[in-house]
């Protein structure tokens, strides 16, 4: 019990440090808000052109599509948590040894740092952009059930984002630089998660593959739940699949970390 209390106190300390660190880079947050807004504006213009004269595509009318893109892009802001960057950078320089010298879980402390980082992004990037969109952009209104499913699903999607970034960061133990891998991850997640195009609009064969990948659980699933396109048992099934991916992600992270510890090498003197 005492050990648990001490561990909780330790994670609390790390969370506190994460808050202050996340707030230290206000300029970067403003830039994120700006690039997200610009990206959204470009995507909405493209889809506006696609919808010219059409009432809907595969059951998505213009308003639903706008809502999908807005929710998807804002969720994507929360999938980026910088763990991959900081973790792989630490491994590259050998600075991860400092984390190992603390009486607290190494991966857990990295994940703990991500939470305040995400909270700050939610407060200073996502909510202002959402507020702006609610006032100036016509959006579909979700049902209470849809919003509730979305809230649960978004938490799981964000957890998956943390786990994926931990794994990419841990790849630093194998490859010297993870820049390429991180770039690839960004592109794959944007496309395969349905952030740019709903998976339902993709050709059946492509969609079939995408739906078997964990990325779909990061944007496509929560946003479809928000829009009421998955209800009842289908919603339960979708969230269940998300939970499975989270469990699998946790296992893979733990094994990857144990492997890295066993390898136990440190760059630099």
């Amino acid at each position: 019990m005492t050990t648990l209390r001490v561990q909780a106190r330790g994670y609390g300390a790390i969370l506190g440090a994460g808050w202050r660190t996340a707030l230290a880079y206000r300029g970067a947050l403003m830039l994120t808000a700006l690039t997200t807004a610009l990206s959204l504006a470009v995507q909405l213009s493209v889809w506006n052109a696609v919808y010219d004269g059409r009432s809907g595509i595969q059951g998505y009318d213009a308003t639903t599509m706008t809502t999908y893109l807005l929710a998807g892009n804002l969720l994507a802001v929360l999938l980026s948590n910088q763990i991959d960057d900081t973790l792989s950078g630490d491994i590259y320089r050998g600075d991860h040894v400092v984390g190992l010298l603390r009486p607290i879980g190494f991966l857990g402390s990295h994940a703990a740092v991500a939470l305040p980082y995400l909270a700050v992004r939610l407060t200073l990037v996502v909510l202002p952009l959402l507020g702006f969109a609610l006032v100036f952009v016509p959006l579909a209104t979700p049902t209470v059930a849809g919003f509730t499913w979305f809230a649960v699903s978004a938490v799981l999607a964000t957890t998956l984002g943390i786990l994926l970034n931990l794994l990419v960061g841990l790849a630093g133990f194998i490859t010297t630089s993870t820049w390429g891998l991180r770039y690839l991850k960004g592109t794959v997640v944007a496309f395969c998660s349905g952030q740019l195009v709903p998976l339902e609009l993709m050709p059946a064969a492509v969609r079939g593959v995408m739906e078997w990948l964990p990325f779909a659980a990061m944007v496509n699933t929560p946003v479809r739940l928000l829009l009421g396109r998955l209800e009842g048992l289908a919603a339960l099934h979708a969230v269940g699949v998300q939970l499975l991916w989270v469990g699998l992600g946790l296992l893979v992270c733990v094994f990857a970390w144990r492997g890295a510890l066993k390898r136990g090498e440190v760059s630099g003197g």
Binding site: T3, T21, G94, K262, V266
Partner: protein
């Protein structure tokens, strides 16, 4: 308190081929080279003792410290710190040890120094009283007050190192591992670090293992020495005993008298034998040779009746000289074996 038994560590290092073409070839095939950083190092440090762990660059000092800190897995052999395998219970081990890696920071880069100490106090589950007591001590010795409110990333190397040493000692560890703890510090700050370590060690009985290229760190903090060379331990013993192992001693003599310097040199050389004698100034000679021959008494006897001695100096051999001789001595058998 610290035990290392036949520790060895082999790193696999990818060899980089020179030039652009070499880099392109490296994309398809890579040569991997094995580097033996530790080759069966054994030593022990009793509780409360302060030991210097010395060696030239690449001798395996930092690798040993990392193995003892539990952040690196030895290829073979084992070590125990405070009765515990460093990798068996990482959290308990982390509470037992304090570590300074001179070129890495354990402080939070974007946060003020005092915030880092607050976090460390919570991480190590320190009572408010203990944390306040240590803060007061570190403020007093290392003058941390002036940098307390500045983010770590804005500190100079010297300022950061002060905070790093304080951070390593903050949770009252039983074992302190110091890897180049005074790198980048000026003379006064080095002395402050020595004072802090010595005060804490004296008050709390902390066991210290120090690696440093700075002889002042070693002589100011440590009483025992372990010397490693090419991944193996080549000397373990008291620092004073090591200093006595100097292969040569020097005696400098100032004199007055009518004898020509050349005649005096010749006479002293002939009288003592097997020593080098040279003129190093006006009416000043230097006698250098084996410690049992080049003694002040032997020099005095040699010049007795020839000159009036105005000054006689026999400086203690420096640790640097002794280590240099030790490295040369241990390298010779290795060369002979080849």
């Amino acid at each position: 308190m610290i035990e290392a038994h036949e520790l060895s560590k082999v790193f696999k290092v990818r060899k980089m081929r020179p030039g652009l073409w070499g880099a392109v070839r490296g994309l398809v095939s890579a040569d991997v080279e094995e580097v033996r950083a530790l080759d069966g190092v054994s030593f022990s440090v009793p509780a409360g003792e302060r030991t210097a762990y010395l060696g030239v660059n690449g001798a395996g000092k930092s690798t040993t410290i990392k193995a003892l800190a539990g952040v690196l897995t030895p290829t073979s052999g084992h070590c125990r710190v405070a009765g515990r395998d460093p990798r068996a219970d990482r959290y308990a081990h982390a509470r037992t040890i304090g570590v300074v890696f001179g070129h890495r920071t354990q402080l939070w880069w974007d946060l003020p120094v005092e915030e880092s100490f607050r976090i460390l106090a919570r991480l190590h589950d320190m009572s408010k009283e203990d944390a306040a007591l240590n803060r007061k001590l570190f403020d007093e010795v290392l003058d941390l007050g002036e940098i307390a409110h500045r983010p770590v990333r804005t500190l100079s190397l010297g300022q950061r190192m002060r905070a790093e040493v304080a951070a390593a000692l903050f949770h009252n560890p039983r074992v302190l591992l110091l890897d180049e703890p005074t790198i980048g510090l000026d003379l006064l700050l080095k002395e402050a670090v020595h004072e802090l370590v010595n005060r804490v060690v004296a008050d709390r009985g902390t066991t210290v293992l120090l690696t440093s290229h700075d002889v002042a760190d070693i002589t100011a903090i440590c009483e025992r020495v372990v010397v490693v060379d090419s991944g193996r331990d080549v000397y373990t013993g008291d620092l004073d005993d090591l200093l006595r192992q100097a292969p040569t001693r020097t005696v400098r003599l100032d004199y007055s008298g009518d004898i020509s310097p050349e005649s005096l040199v010749s006479h002293v050389r002939h009288y003592i034998g097997l020593v080098q004698v040279e003129i190093v100034g006006r009416r000043r000679i230097k006698v250098e040779g084996p410690p049992d021959l080049a003694t002040p008494q032997a020099v005095l006897n040699a010049v007795s009746g020839l000159v009036t001695v105005t000054d006689l100096v026999a400086p203690e051999p420096t640790l640097g000289e002794v280590l240099r001789a030790l490295y040369v001595r241990t390298a010779e058998p290795a060369r002979g074996a080849r």
